[in-house]
Symmetry: C2
Subunit: 158 residues, 2 copies
């Protein structure tokens, strides 16, 4: 039996267990999130456009690590549906500046509220003390794993 100090392999097993657990949790969120008529891919792009005014397709491709070809088609679809507006850049004729139409903003806002509501449901059975515990635990994980990230490459970013 393991004593008081967890070994590295215990830690590995625990992390992998958590990965499985949380992947399933997020998967559930994702599924329910998708009882909007919009796909995850579309929403990610829409968020990106909302959060960065006048962003270009290549910016999005870099940011979300999407293939340019795939993104090009996704954007065409979003433009065709009247969700995204594509305006030629005045300073560089190769680029298009992307923005959300009013309709697009409505969609993103609704998705936002929906996601917040689902998260609220998830927190509902917890007491205030438990909620605080949960948030603390999440912060701890982000800090510890973020440390790894900082210590390798990737410091700058946004």
């Amino acid at each position: 039996m393991p004593q008081s100090r967890p070994s590295l392999s215990d830690a590995i097993a625990a992390v992998r267990g958590f990965n499985r657990f949380y992947t399933r949790e997020v998967g559930l969120l994702r599924k329910t999130f998708l009882d909007t008529p919009w796909t995850l891919g579309e929403m990610r792009i829409l968020y990106e456009i909302r959060n960065h005014a006048k962003i270009s397709a290549s910016d999005i491709a870099r940011e979300l690590e999407l293939d340019a070809a795939y993104l090009s088609r996704l954007l065409s679809r979003l433009v065709a549906k009247g969700i995204v507006i594509r305006t030629p850049s005045e300073t560089d004729a190769r680029l298009h500046e992307l923005s959300l139409s009013d309709y697009g903003q409505t969609i993103v806002n609704a998705a936002d509220e929906r996601q917040a509501a689902l998260t609220a449901d998830m927190l509902a059975p917890l007491s205030a003390a438990e909620r605080r515990q949960l948030v603390d635990a999440m912060t701890t994980i982000e800090t510890l794993l973020g440390k790894r990230r900082a210590s390798t490459s990737e410091a700058g970013k946004q």
Copy 2:
């Protein structure tokens, strides 16, 4: 600075932030995990077969929430590649009992080791105390969110 008691909306924001963070983390793991020649879908099925002797396709479909049609094709592919063995059940002619070939077991074991190695890399920059903190935080989250699951309908599944 935030006061002593986090509000519900603070908690919601924190959870959503963590979801984004962890989705990205898992995404990275997933990508690197995939520099094996096997897809995530294939591996999930292979793990399921390894962990449950004589499992049937419909068991897997239930467990992984996969569409029966999709699963049927995935399994055919795995059988064609000599990874999975499909033997007719002796007690029910509709079922096939699934198992891993030697080759299949080799693949799963290799993937296992690869995943453990990646997790070890992720833990490497942490001290023993930090590792313990991390594991505690993960346990806390699983417990608190698992509680939600138990308290809602979901006990008997469907």
